[in-house]
């Protein structure tokens, strides 16, 4: 394979994976913006979604429910989970400092980790394919079909969100509440509805991201490391920017691919901490992230 094809291969697969990273990160940003919570348990949300999907869909060897039914059930379960998290945990945290809700999410991280492991065990399960699989050749470049489908789904979802926040009444209310919550309430926007939608969206997006990643790497607790990826994406792209998620995801995925291929021979394992280095780099140069809007208080 010549250099150009290799490069194209790396970039293309990076774009495909990066779009999933970006979508997943949006769920985190929604919670951060609208609920003002730094939810470090977000990775567990993704894992939970994937395991729920596996429970309903089954694996290729032993499939369970038909696709449509499984999708609906998973969606219902995830929505219920999001509502529960909002009602039982984070509604109480409204108005309390960021540190408090962060520590709460730490507790939630541990709790969910334990519960998921007890319920489903540590072994990796294969998710029955929800989308067609197998390699797809585009000229000299080969990509996996799942990735293309994931990309398409991620793209559709991203556009859906943009439209939601830009053009719907509810989306406008959520944007307004982020800017000035009390003023929005004085105009009739319900704080509890805002909170509920935020957490349901966050849980659903996490689940979608988890499921998409699971189609590739199987369903296991290891998926929770997705939160690291998400953190990297939002730090690069901006904690409160949905567009930044897209950008961050692409930069991270493509960058990791390129680093892995070109630099790994020289520094083994560099690809693993590439994301960390990228985070540190961005924090030093542009702390709010590439597309983040709120300035950080500098002392």
């Amino acid at each position: 394979m010549d250099t150009v094809t290799t490069l194209l291969q790396l970039v293309l697969s990076g774009v495909l994976v990066g779009s999933v990273y970006g979508l997943t990160a949006m769920g985190f940003v929604v919670a951060y913006r609208n609920a003002r919570v730094f939810n470090i348990a977000y990775g567990q949300f993704a894992v939970l979604g994937a395991f729920l999907a596996w429970t309903f869909l089954g694996s290729p060897q032993s499939p369970r429910l038909p696709l449509a039914v499984a999708v609906v059930l998973t969606l219902l379960a995830v929505v219920a989970f999001g509502l529960a998290v909002e009602r039982l945990l984070f509604r109480r945290m409204i108005g309390r400092p960021l540190f408090a809700s962060f520590v709460l999410s730490l507790g939630l991280l541990a709790f969910l980790h334990g519960v998921i492991m007890i319920a489903w065990g540590p072994s990796t399960k294969v998710l029955a394919a929800a989308v067609p699989t197998g390699p797809l050749a585009l000229g000299d470049v080969v990509v996996s079909r799942e990735f293309v489908w994931s990309f398409a789904i991620a793209l559709a979802a991203t556009i859906g969100f943009a439209l939601f926040f830009r053009f719907t009444r509810l989306g406008l209310a959520m944007r307004a509440a982020y800017d000035n919550e009390v003023a929005a309430r004085c105009l009739g926007a319900s704080a509890s509805l805002n909170s509920q939608i935020t957490w349901v969206l966050s849980a659903v997006i996490a689940a979608v991201g988890g499921i998409l990643m699971a189609t590739v790497s199987g369903v296991s607790i290891g998926l929770s490391e997705l939160v690291m990826v998400v953190l990297a994406v939002v730090l690069i792209g901006g904690m409160d920017s949905l567009a930044g998620c897209v950008l961050g995801g692409l930069i991270l995925a493509v960058g990791t691919n390129l680093t892995g291929y070109y630099l790994s021979p020289l520094l083994p394992g560099i690809a693993g901490i590439f994301s960390m280095l990228l985070i540190l780099g961005v924090l030093v140069i542009r702390p709010t992230g590439l597309l983040g809007s709120r300035p950080i208080e500098r002392v």
Binding site: G95, R169, L172, A173, R175, A176, Y178, D179, N180, V182, A183, A184, R185, C186, L187, G188, A189, S190, A191, S293
Partner: protein, 264 residues
């Protein structure tokens, strides 16, 4: 229409902001709520609109009624739905949203597309200064423009009562005059009642029908605005003079220090 009786409000369980405040806003009335810093004007407004609870405040006594129905204790969004729109102190625009989006947000509770569209045009007619700023992020508007926007936004909800917290704060005198005349026009044409909390007594009384003067969380004086404007009680409430609190004769020239006979 809007009646508050015997309000006693406390912040954080310890800071007493209102001791015993009663006021009323009639249909189509413009009522001024005057007083110096810390006298309780903002708190009185927040007690009516439900914002008090969101700031760790509590109405320990008293009640607020809208058309005879009690609204104290409801969340702000419920009270907004009943037609009470509170314009917060300090130009509370949504900075990341454009001027137009701000206005549309004002119409959040409404479903009549056509009506909203018409009102949007009407808003730009009342506040022509805003029209060229339609697509600009409201965070970039000047102080005066933001204040106009906030009031226009409140009007988009077609409120029955408008609660305005220090609308003139930080604005140039010319703009204040313009703003207040627009408010009067709105009352005349739309029938919206208003409760305006203001430190700028002269300006407020110029546009209001009736006024209350708050001092230390209590109503120190009240009356028709013409009466209040002359009344030295207002001055004494501001400057903390007049320990005897006696009514002075109408024949004293305004500006005469009270208790002139007593001081030797």
């Amino acid at each position: 229409m809007l009646v508050a009786s015997g309000l006693k409000a406390v912040y954080g369980g310890v800071v007493r902001a209102l001791e015993d405040v009663s006021l009323a806003v009639p249909e189509r009335g413009i009522v001024a709520l005057l007083g110096s810093n810390g006298s309780g004007k903002s708190t009185a407004l927040k007690s009516v609109s439900g914002v008090l609870k969101t700031e760790d405040g509590d109405l320990t006594e008293g009640k607020v009624e809208l058309d005879g129905r009690r609204i104290d204790g409801l969340v702000p969004e419920r009270i907004a739905r009943l037609g009470v729109c509170h314009v917060l102190q300090g130009r509370s625009v949504f900075p990341q949203l454009t001027t137009e989006d701000n206005l549309l947000m004002g119409a959040y509770l409404r479903r009549d597309r056509q009506g909203i569209h018409e009102d949007l045009a009407r808003a730009f007619e009342y506040f022509p200064g805003l029209a060229p700023l339609r697509a600009r992020k409201s965070g970039y508007l000047s102080g005066g423009e933001q204040q106009m926007l906030v009031i226009a936004r409140a009007l988009m909800s077609r409120p029955r009562v408008l609660l305005l917290d220090e609308p003139s704060l930080g604005l140039a005198p010319g703009i204040i005059r313009e703003l207040l005349s627009i408010l009067r026009r709105i009352r005349d044409e739309e029938g919206t009642a208003m409760l305006i909390a203001e430190q700028n007594a002269v300006a407020a009384l110029g546009v209001a029908d009736f006024g209350y003067v708050l001092q230390g969380g209590r109503v120190a004086a009240s009356g028709a605005s013409a009466e209040l404007a002359e009344h030295t009680r207002v001055a004494s409430a501001y400057m903390g003079l007049g320990e005897d609190g006696a009514f002075l004769s109408r024949h004293d020239a305004p500006g005469t220090p009270p208790g002139g006979e007593g001081q030797q």
